[in-house]
């Protein structure tokens, strides 16, 4: 029967072309939506890597102009003491501008053992960064004062970079750097990857450098860990205290919780747009399928009557129509899958293959379910046609 139906569909390929194209386009849009959803979910289920609640970001511009590094150190160390003296401040850390959930990036690349790692995030942070962020150290340790003097340039890497460079092996104690660099960096710790781009978007590998005494010239942000009860009144007090010390300086205080919300919002917008487009397409395909099958029943009443006359039951007529739709869907999905599989093969958007594969499987299941639902009712209507009436109408 399957071969028979396939022949029937093949011989009607011109009539079926539009419907198949519609199914194919729907599959491709669904593939995009599901891949994005799987990608978002895949990132969502990963740990955040730090505790962003009760962490505030203070943006400062360096108003203190001096060429003397000691004076600069003294100026910012005093600022640190002033901020830390406030009762609701638990800890703080001067950091580079690319704090979590900000639009600032500082990226480079690394070729290690012949493997090139793109979009490598470079961070600079102080020893207190671990406590301020409540980092999850997976291997080794975070920086401390003893790291000021070392034979090697020390570095802390995140789990993503460790996976990309050392795989499952231990990273602590190993040297890291471009293959052609003579001076390598020594890994002293591995931390959980921080989801700096929010809950849904992949952060990319990260390399953390220790802020040294000269770093105050360009460290433009302070992360402050506050007590859970810190409110707007305290925020005002913090601002006033800082403004009193840093004359003519712009100070802006933001909460990481709010920044995360904004970051997530911007990440979700493309998915919402794609979902709306796919919803319209799905409705379109559903109506199209329903209409075509309904039209087919009326157009093929003679054939339905004939099949009943020569031995088909109502159910077999019904299942024939459903199967025809499923075969059409299968043909469209084969073509669609051919295009879809190119994405992981060519690594188009630098996503893991499993995200594409799951997205593809979900799209296939969805298209089959859609076709099944849309063809069941017309199929049942066909089964209810009385053969004598159908043959007479022809």
């Amino acid at each position: 029967m399957f071969k028979h139906l396939f022949k029937l569909i093949w011989n009607k390929k011109k009539q079926n072309f539009l419907l198949m194209t519609e199914m194919l386009v729907s599959f491709m849009v669904l593939f995009a939506v599901f891949t994005l959803m799987v990608y978002y979910y895949d990132n969502y289920k990963k740990p955040m890597g730090f505790k962003y609640q009760d962490v505030w970001v203070i943006n400062i511009n360096n108003s203190y102009q001096t060429k003397n590094t000691d004076s600069l150190d003294l100026y910012y160390e005093t600022l640190r003491k002033i901020i830390k003296s406030l009762p609701q401040v638990k800890d703080l850390s001067f950091v580079s501008g690319n704090v979590p959930f900000s639009n600032q990036i500082n990226q480079g690349g690394l070729t290690f053992k012949g493997k090139h790692i793109d979009h490598l995030n470079n961070f600079t942070a102080e020893d207190s960064y671990k406590e301020t962020m409540d980092l999850d150290v997976l291997e080794g340790r975070w920086y401390n004062k003893s790291d000021a003097v070392s034979k090697y340039k020390l570095v802390v890497i995140d789990a993503d970079l460790k996976e990309a460079t050392f795989g499952k092996e231990q990273a602590v104690g190993k040297l890291l750097g471009n293959d052609d660099d003579k001076k390598k960096m020594k890994v002293i710790g591995v931390i959980q990857t921080i989801k700096r781009n929010g809950d849904y978007v992949k952060a990319g590998p990260g390399l953390y450098f220790r802020a040294d005494t000269g770093s105050f010239r360009w460290l433009s942000k302070i992360l402050v860990k506050v007590s859970p009860g810190a409110d707007a009144a305290f925020e005002g007090k913090l601002y006033k205290t800082m403004a009193g010390y840093m004359k003519n300086s712009n100070i802006e205080i933001e909460h990481l919780t709010n920044k995360l919300k904004d970051t997530n919002y911007f990440a979700v917008i493309p998915m919402i747009v794609l979902s709306i487009v796919s919803c319209f397409l799905i409705i379109n395909v559903a109506l199209g399928l329903f209409g075509v099958l309904w039209y087919n029943i009326n157009k093929r009443k003679g054939e339905i009557g004939l099949r009943r006359a020569i031995g088909a039951t109502g159910n077999s007529v019904s299942s024939q129509l459903v199967m025809e739709s499923m075969i059409l869907a299968t043909l469209s999905l084969i073509i669609g899958s051919f295009f879809a599989i190119q994405f992981p093969l060519l690594n188009v958007f630098d996503l893991s293959a499993h995200i594409y594969i799951i997205g593809m499987l979900l799209s296939i299941i969805f298209v089959y379910l859609l076709v099944l639902v849309c063809s069941l009712y017309p199929g049942r209507q066909a089964a209810a046609i009385y053969p004598a009436v159908a043959l007479h109408e022809e």
């Binding site: 022949k7 054939e303 099949r307 009943r308 020569i310 053969p387 004598a388 043959l391």
Partner: protein, 221 residues
Amino acid sequence: MIRLQNIEKVYRTDTIETLALNSISLDIAKGEFLSIMGPSGCGKSTLLNIMGLLDAPSKGMIKIADKSTENLNDKQLAQFRNKTLGFIFQSYHLINDLQVLDNVELPLLYRDTTAKERKRLATEALEKVGLANRVKHFPTQLSGGQRQRVAIARAIVGRPDIILADEPTGNLDSAMGNEIMEILINLNRNEGTTIVMVTHDENMAQKTHRLVRLFDGSQVQ
């Protein structure tokens, strides 16, 4: 072979009740070639549909091959039609998107047969109607007479005991009509197939063993 007892068929709409068949009783023997004649709308096709179990009578009893058909469910009726009955229609009812061979194979698809066996039986049936050289053609590439021969091949491919033909020569000119009639006569004579044929053509009817005339739903001869 076929026994009809007091068959009545009433078509009802919201306002009108139409008596299409009125107390028809008929016995058709095995191997008989019977023709049914009558003016348009007298109930010939309705009677044929009832004999073919495509329609149910409002009253009365049908026995085919000594088997009462009134309590058969949809699946049993379908199986019965598939194995015992073959149909030929005035408008052929061929599927234009399938080749001749595939059209002839259709009844065998609803049986437990292999593709090889289906092909063999369909080729044999097409040889019997002289169309063995047209297996790859589509119905639209054939003349009316050839299409009707394909329809006959489809009716006989399952080797049914009874063939029900509803004006098989109605759409054909007399020469082609005679050819079709020859095939049916040969089937009846050589294979012993019982044939019931509805026709408007007196000449064709005269070639059969017995003629039944209907008028306004009643049997008049």
